[in-house]
Symmetry: C2
Subunit: 277 residues, 2 copies
Amino acid sequence: VPTAFESAIAVEETSPGLYGVTVDPGWSIGERPNGGYLMALVARAAVAASPHADPLAISAHFLRPPSFGPGVVDVDDLRIGRSVGFHNARLIENDETVVDARVTTGRLPKDDPEWVGQEAPQMPAPEDCPRGKPTTPDGTYISLFDRLEVRYDPATVMWAVREGGRQDPVLRAWVRIDGDDTDAYAVAIAADALPPAVFALGFRGWAPTVEMTTYIRARPAPGWMRVAVHTQLLAGGWFDENALVWDADGRLVGQARQLAMVGRQRKGRPGADANDR
Amino acid sequence: VPTAFESAIAVEETSPGLYGVTVDPGWSIGERPNGGYLMALVARAAVAASPHADPLAISAHFLRPPSFGPGVVDVDDLRIGRSVGFHNARLIENDETVVDARVTTGRLPKDDPEWVGQEAPQMPAPEDCPRGKPTTPDGTYISLFDRLEVRYDPATVMWAVREGGRQDPVLRAWVRIDGDDTDAYAVAIAADALPPAVFALGFRGWAPTVEMTTYIRARPAPGWMRVAVHTQLLAGGWFDENALVWDADGRLVGQARQLAMVGRQRKGRPGADANDR
């Protein structure tokens, strides 16, 4: 029996290079599917088209606000090498491309790393960390947080509990999908699962991502992942967000960076200004 | 009179969306054009096709070993928004796509950043830093280092001067193009200008990049840029490399990450195994 996550990223080839998918409303923030979920979905289609078994890198342009329901992922093989495959993978909904991604496929390493420069952060145990709530104070329903258990390092979310709170845009959390369902695709969703770190600076509202690139470096061990995100620069309304993901064994399994715009707060209409770019 | 760098990334529209280019041998490591140079070149073509003035993000797949001489950049506009343009830009040589890039165009911020989390590193003055030499001990000619003045923070290149030297894969350097020719495209080349940081771990040889994504965050002030690169994980022969670029005013102007394979040393044939993937 497939898990909820496996079902949500299931693909079915309908003709060569075309994969039928269903954008599941269960992995969303308000009316918008999570970007990491969509990246996992297009990567799943690219791997289905590839002779290689694993996703190594996914870089995505978010062209239009995505919606729920049936869609198609159109995969073009750019080049298939002996150990690496390069693919374009476009998620098409209502005849429009909403996500245009480039996916690298290959084989994830199984052996211990030869060099590690980034150790997993020390955090209080998950049960001592507050859980991300599926409903925000302004009434937005985050279905993602029903499927994904997110437990914040309390030191990084003081801004959320103090009136007018501000701190550096750094967030850390434990993240677990559906119990223990942590395959390689789970890394893509974990890398985009936390709220924008610029919330710590007082910004709120939907922060549309224009580009995100995620590297998957190993298949995660089952259990709690740790995710750390931070923003290095906010200028002219643009901010970056850098994410690292470690698995339950403390192994670095994912690296990601995205470029996004700070949102304008629009009560009850998250995502509205993704359209206004 | 255009500078050498401006000439090297010049594009000429030959038909709608098609840009004639010349891959200049002056920005190379051995027989291979520098990847950052090629990213600057395809970004230049995308901006020529865009109503927006600046490159914001470039994510590139390196499909095949590039060569010197005439080529074409084929630009497809994926979506043109009011403040952001999304483009595919493919560098085609001898009827084959060698670089397949996705370029985001827009307008770079001019005002001071609203938040900075990553200050420029402190380094000895450029004149106290050893210069990257255009010829390596194995006889490879790095024409890039004739055009680009690279001066290493001595603390980060001890591995190069001690027999069997090893240290953490972290490199810092001053980088200056052609005197003071630092436009937005210079950021793309600076982000890929240093040797692979894994050289500090004892690896040598060509390290083929499969994916690189560079964000350009501001137009750099004229003069010396500072570049810091580090590797977070080396596993199964794959390594990442993270680069930050600051301008002469100490402003963060670029962020990049690439995924590459450690090279096998092949004397006098850098780039040979980029073909063997």
